[in-house]
Subunit: 205 residues, 2 copies
DNA sequence: AAAGTTTATGAGCGATCACTCAATTAAAAA
DNA sequence: TTTTTAATTGAGTGATCGCTCATAAACTTT
């Protein structure tokens, strides 16, 4: 079976993700990665093929974690709709989810590479859709729990929710005052809670 | 007075802005600019000092136009609050303001350069604040017209409005279906109109 | 025309880019 | 131990990066 790898692939990938997330695709050089991963160029290419592929893998890791975190949050929420609203408030609390006060990596990717690396952009759009689907599932749960009107359009609400998340995370990126972010998050959270159906248990006509 | 310049400075600057806006700061090379402006490297540096300075000038041009366009829109609106709501709907209509279906250049800048070109990021934040102030002025006009409660916090509303614009323009960037963008814009516009005070002419207690 | 002044030119600067590959090293298998 | 197999290395690839500067060109003034 020959010589085993010296690095931990998962660990290297996670480091790469953080570097890419912080600096962006174009601004991150192989030198940055060599230093950050503590790997020589040859090893990086042996392990991850090339910069673009490494970036795609980093994106995948990012999305997987995001979805997992969101679902974990929803599972421990008092109710689906409350969970969604709280998810927005959460951005204002800890300084950010996972300790990284930044734009969503997918947003950053799409802004960075849409006109220069279309394949990466296409993949990022797919990932955004995955996350939006997770949000839609959350709204569907709220509907099933009678918190939303039967007529509520979950896909539509999910897009709006994602827009709110995007905007909030962009404010985090700007390092806007904590107070102002909290106020914005509170506004957006209340918009979600305002969707709560007044008649929680009416079946269709 | 010696040899006159061959190029039109304003025109060159506008072209540079469009190139930077499309590709971003890092991804735009001097070659791109040489081609786009039809100027040789020496001339570009003679006219605009360096890439960073040219970018800052392009940003300034962008912001000036954005503010002007917003104010022109507000001046011809039926009422301030209606104008604000219509401004959001406007993004869904023409495919974008000025024919450029993209993220706001300031958003793009901040995502692109915050961790790699701090001076540009700092300037972009100042510009964002300028625009937010223009939005706040719009809300102040609405308040003066009795469309908003006396207690309304214009600065706070302006930040929320700007967040809505950011999110909407990001959707434009994604080339989301026209229908979905229109639905999102309509939602956001209605949130603005929902602020309309039911008692338009009550002075303070 | 000649002198003076400013702009335009583009080959080329050193630095850095993403990336390669022949040589070396380290482990498992024989 | 020897052989086999794969991982690691890092100097070096050509391309491109932002940028410079000596020279040529175009205009006004004398």
């Amino acid at each position: 079976m020959s010589r085993p790898t010296q690095y931990d692939r998962e660990e290297a990938l996670q480091k790469a993700m953080l570097i890419f997330w912080k600096k962006g695709y174009h601004a991150t050089s192989l030198k940055d990665l060599e230093k950050g991963l503590n790997m020589k160029p040859g090893s990086i290419y042996c392990a991850f093929s090339n910069k673009e592929n490494l970036y795609l893998l980093a994106l995948e890791l990012y999305v997987g974690r995001s979805v997992t975190r969101f679902q974990a949050h929803m599972d421990q929420a008092a109710s689906p709709l409350t969970g969604l609203a709280e998810y927005l408030r959460g951005f204002a609390r800890n300084g950010a989810n996972g300790g990284a006060p930044q734009v969503c990596m997918l947003t950053k990717t799409l802004v960075d590479v849409t006109s220069t690396a279309p394949e990466i952009a296409a993949q990022a759009k797919i990932h955004l859709k995955q996350i939006r689907q997770a949000f839609a599932d959350g709204f569907a749960r709220a509907k099933a729990a009678g918190e939303l009107s039967e007529k509520a359009d979950c896909a539509h609400l999910a897009r709006r929710f994602q827009a709110a998340v995007t905007a909030l995370r962009f404010e985090l990126h700007l390092e806007t005052d904590q107070t102002d972010i909290a106020a914005l998050a509170e506004d957006l959270a209340q918009e979600i809670e305002a969707l709560r159906s007044e008649r929680p248990d009416i079946a269709h006509p």
